[in-house]
């Protein structure tokens, strides 16, 4: 039997307790193209499997994202998304639903920016039949009077097609911003939007205006006409000891100056968000208004949540939400983007808040414990990889998983792919935090070949610059990891 050293442990299998199951060393896995072509389908492996240590579909060479040069089978599936197994095909950036005037601004001539190109980059016809059917199913579900959240989630988790502009609405429903009962939408939206307006008015006012409003309310007003033409100006007491240099904790001035530090930080981070996208950066007034929206949402959030304030990274979690909601083909919705995005951001972050709180870092709910959860998940599903990564090569998961988890994978893939991943994250009934861990675990398993062959430096480099993969494959693998009890 031709034995390709997929992992060096296979050599020791004869000597020590078998780490790698026998089926793994089957010639099927060899990179020799003369191998059985049916391997492309996962199911055909089952016959060769005995006891599963690592699920069979997992070890298909399909999952390797860096195909050896002589394996054109892999080349076909790993690097050309347009001919992928899964029905959905995705361009690098989703085209916003057709809006003529905005389209002009967003589609530059230079190809370096990753804006939606005018022409179709996809090799296949614009929307595949599966896409169309899913789109119509989603539309059908959305047009029902009472939307079945479970059904919507099921449809959405396979990916929301970009063309119909239904993603904004679906996300709003999944995040609980819009109720399932369509008739309540108008009132809910109006309520939330006016609430946001109140927040802004309350929180974004500076102390000068506050003191002036206080004076007006207590009736002390200096009327110019009553003042004498000459004379000493009358001195008056200040209310509550409020003066600009006050160092008191409850002083509005003191709070204002403390807030301005945070505002400066938010401003810096907003300017650095997605510098390659015209939506977010550049000199156009469109980009500026989007940046302004990001900034205001983050400031309002920071002021409303004194416990957590603003932490670097929140801008990255907010960016996809703003992008999706701003590109809503419904004009009215697009106009109230800020309010909608704010509430959805709050909702999305509620599951992940503890990851951002520094004091909780070492606690049961903090980021460290989440990372160790990921570690345990990996160990459960692929002990060999886990052992190689954490023990042999000593790649501490904190080195790569921190960014994966806190930023919800927005930095690991291109923008369109991360939107697709978020479709699944938001729609899975297990909830975003657990789904995220499964996706991260799947990311590790997909590159297991390279990881098992690499040392500390190579592995770290690979994981910190995760190679482009077929997202549908990734999500399929993540789905398979769902609460399986591995023997």
């Amino acid at each position: 039997m031709e034995r390709v050293v997929v992992n060096n442990k296979s050599n020791q299998s004869a000597l020590v307790k078998e780490r790698v199951p026998e089926w793994l060393n089957n010639s099927i896995w060899s990179s020799n193209p003369s191998a059985n072509d049916e391997v492309v389908k996962n199911e055909s492996i089952q016959s060769a499997m005995v006891k599963e240590r690592i699920p069979e579909w997992l070890n298909s060479s399909l999952w390797s994202s860096n195909p050896p040069a002589n394996d054109d089978r892999l080349l076909r599936y790993a690097s050309k998304p347009s001919t992928a197994l899964e029905p959905t095909t995705r361009p690098p950036i989703p085209e916003p639903p057709p809006k003529p005037q905005e389209a002009e601004e967003e589609k530059p001539n230079d190809r370096e920016t990753r804006d939606p190109p005018r022409d179709d980059e996809r090799s296949s016809p614009s929307i595949s039949p599966e896409d169309i059917s899913r789109q119509s199913q989603l539309l059908a579900e959305l047009s029902r009077k009472i939307i079945n959240l479970h059904e919507l989630g099921r449809l959405a988790s396979q990916g929301i097609p970009d063309g119909a502009g239904i993603r904004p609405t679906v996300w709003k429903i999944l995040l609980g911003y819009l109720p399932c009962d369509r008739s309540l939408w108008a009132t809910e939206l109006a309520k939330k939007r006016s609430q946001y307006k109140h927040f802004k008015e309350e929180l974004l006012v500076n102390p000068s205006d506050i003191t002036r409003m206080l004076e007006k309310s207590t009736g002390i007003e200096s009327d110019d006409s009553k003042c004498e033409r000459r004379g000493f100006l009358p001195r008056s007491e200040i209310p509550h000891g409020e003066h600009p240099l006050s160092l008191g904790k409850t002083s509005i001035w003191n709070q204002f100056f403390q807030d301005s530090e945070i505002i400066e930080q938010i401003d810096r981070d907003v300017k650095r968000t997605h510098p390659d996208m015209h939506f977010f950066s550049g000199d156009s007034s469109f980009a500026r208004s989007n940046q302004e929206a990001l900034k205001i949402i983050l400031i309002v959030f920071a002021k409303l949540n004194p416990g957590i304030r603003y932490v670097q990274g929140m801008n990255e979690v907010l960016a996809p939400l703003l992008y999706v909601f701003r590109n809503d083909p419904d004009e009215e919705n697009a106009a109230s983007t800020e309010a909608d995005t704010f509430f959805c951001f709050v909702e999305l972050l509620s599951g992940f808040r503890d990851n951002f709180c520094q004091q909780l870092d070492n606690s049961v709910v903090g980021i460290r414990s989440t990372i160790s959860k990921l570690s345990r998940l990996l160990k459960k599903h692929d002990e060999e990889l886990w052992r190689h990564l954490e023990i042999t090569t000593k790649v501490n998961p904190q080195f790569y998983a921190f960014r994966w988890i806190t930023l919800l994978l927005t930095q690991e893939f291109n923008f369109a792919d991360s939107l697709h991943i978020w479709d699944t994250l938001l729609s899975d009934p297990e909830g975003p935090p657990d789904t995220l861990l499964r996706v991260c675990c799947a990311m590790l398993i997909l590159v297991r070949k390279r990881l098992l062959g690499g040392d500390f430096t190579a592995n770290l480099k690979l994981l910190q610059n995760y190679p482009p993969t077929n997202i549908s494959h990734l999500l399929y693998v993540a789905d398979k990891l769902r609460a399986r009890s591995v023997g």
């Binding site: 000068s208 205006d209 200096s222 110019d224 000493f232 100006l233 600009p244």
Partner: protein, 188 residues
Amino acid sequence: MVLVLALGDLHIPHRAPDLPAKFKSMLVPGKIQHIICTGNLCIKEVHDYLKSLCPDMHIARGEYDEDSRYPETKTLTIGQFKLGLCHGHQVIPWGDLDSLAMLQRQLDVDILVTGHTHQFKAYKHEGGVVINPGSATGAYSSITYDANPSFVLMDIDGLRVVVYVYELIDGEVKVDKIDFKKTATASH
């Protein structure tokens, strides 16, 4: 909302060693946008200290200042207001409000900030407002006895100015405020 600190007549080191500790604890960098200093600091160290509070500092020459390059008078515009700065020893009689009004008309400013008398004053006349922030260290003066340390912080917001007066009385900081508005048609 622009915060402008007005102070002067510190007379460090000749008549006073330093600003009162309570004042110093309040004056932290980052809050104030401009500093207007009436003069008589007197040495460079004080100048550097004030510069560290705020990079935009304007100062007029007092008769004991060691740096002779400070101007005798200075005018600047902050927001909708024109401010004038002069130490005040040049205006005789010292502290006379009519004479200061004359200086104000000469400089053509809305707010004239002067010192020298070591006594806080805020006076309004047809030409505008005269503000004397007093002595920030409470240094002794030949014309004022028992001067309390005092300085002034102005909050300029559109056409309205809120003047916060900080005084150290019996070891405690007392803060008062004065409101005035500029009429939209500025006719001097």
